[in-house]
Assembly symmetry: C2
Homo-oligomer: 340 residues x 2
Amino acid sequence: MSITMHDVARLAGVSIKTVSNVVNDYPHIRPETRDRVNSAIDELGYRPNLIARGLRSGRTGVISLIIPDLRNAYFAELADVVMRAADAQGLSVIIEQSGADRDREIGLLGGERKQKVDGILYSALALGEDDAHILNDVTTPLVLLGERIFHGPTDHVTMQNTEGARAATAHLIALGRTRIAVVGAHRGEVIGSAGLRLAGYREALADAGIAYDDELVGEVGGWYRSGGAQAMRLLLDSGAKFDGLVAFNDSMALGAMRVMQEAGLRIPDDVAVIGYDDIDETRYTLPTLSTIDPGKEEIAEVAVRFLLERIGNPGAVIEPREHLAAYRVVVRESSTLPQN
Amino acid sequence: MSITMHDVARLAGVSIKTVSNVVNDYPHIRPETRDRVNSAIDELGYRPNLIARGLRSGRTGVISLIIPDLRNAYFAELADVVMRAADAQGLSVIIEQSGADRDREIGLLGGERKQKVDGILYSALALGEDDAHILNDVTTPLVLLGERIFHGPTDHVTMQNTEGARAATAHLIALGRTRIAVVGAHRGEVIGSAGLRLAGYREALADAGIAYDDELVGEVGGWYRSGGAQAMRLLLDSGAKFDGLVAFNDSMALGAMRVMQEAGLRIPDDVAVIGYDDIDETRYTLPTLSTIDPGKEEIAEVAVRFLLERIGNPGAVIEPREHLAAYRVVVRESSTLPQN
DNA sequence: CTGAAAGCGCTAACAC
DNA sequence: GTGTTAGCGCTTTCAG
């Protein structure tokens, strides 16, 4: 029913192989032959069948991106940049949501669906160090996004959590703030984002000779707006005094800011605030939110590149690489000193 | 290199056809044979090659979802529900972003990539009535999401824009508000979301015998938070008095609320506010935002079903169908009457 | 109920 | 430079 290479070959009076050569830009073809084939292609409206090509070549031109949840602005934006980076390389992206559920995160890696893709960008949240062995069984090229919870056999592209949080905190300190609260800690966590960012916060305090005060550290279950709001309410109720706030992501920062504004605190005058992630929304709030740009574009671009390198060298044993994206302190109104 | 049906057949001592029958749950197989094949499958760890199957059957088990932009919370949430609905049917979803760019919207429909999918869910923003003919050339099963700008040959699943906006306005009127402002209008637009929702607003006013006042209608370029904020600033500067606000989407409502709060207006006491879309965020703001739930889940579920019906009946001429999802007024704090 | 064989449309040796 | 041929792994007539 659809037009095949045979049809083109017949019309052009050449063999199917020649058609294939033309379609694939094989270099050594007589220009005259090439033209004849091309006009036959145009005349028939021939389009190569990508599935057949995939069967033959073992490539599909599709990669998958496994993330917890698109409803989370950070992951939606990550997906956005990954799709742009993939698009630039001629790849399509299948997105799969794990819901941050461990079983699903594992299931997605093992399922049959991964056959349909050349490689996987994998952002796991619920998997822990103990699950690292799971990655060994995956033969599909894989690049890990997010925390380095694993020391597995895969490439890993991530952000500088500790350094970013340290810079955020140092920024507030440079503003003259000394009582700096935190929202988003997970007690006892060391290796996840919360643990790494808390470490950065502590480092910055230490650098400035400011004592760490446990009372100023607000714990949060989920890193959502509501969590930030709730943690801030507790902080305010506790009577603790503070003039700065580092939120471990932007959503929590926004939730906390709301609560502070309701309580009559002025931002940044009374409390200077900085978040993390640089989600779009931070540009539109009142006041606009200072934040750490974790380098999402770079993460996406490098991850896709790593993946393509592995896809392109199937047999090759490439030493697992790690890439840390450059972060950037983005100063907006929430941490800009009042004019006077 | 990978295990094929031949390997299984050899081990089980049957023909490749029998293996195929077992794998595809073909009914008439002797249980004994089936068991033998199944244990061979288990022993070898055989997994059917989906690409090869796709080549043969013409199906890939993948659909694509074309949307303007994942950064927009509405589309991120739409993508989320579409992926869940597709997942429930065993389908994977490739997401493609058009950036609301007309050329790209058209290009995505014509490109080679669509070969890799069985069907397309298409949410176009920049395409107009004049572009309807483009859909005629698309042979891939297609379901339109969003405004009915086209009267093309395809199924169409959308929300009840006019009715939803009317219900939103009526809700504020029922609260006793009579000076109801609008944010999100597009002057002169009739057929897009802005035009349809404005029509609903006017209908509700007319129903209540309230005169339409052009001064209360705020225009906005893009339906983002910043647009809502800006429109509200203009409205306040104009000196117009109002006690209610209908925003044509939630993002704009949030932007406008911020500006009102800065200006010292209390919500809902001074101004009752309602948005549109029921994005997640509306549950976490202060106050929480009343809104219209446009029935995203239903839209996704029906759209996937329509698409599957077309995919499943390749030759069949199915009369283009239209489905309007049920909407729902979601009352939250921003439009809840004060206790006294 | 099961086997043999013919492709789906393409790519890649290997000839000529 | 170009043609021939053999599959990629699977489904699907058609026999038996």
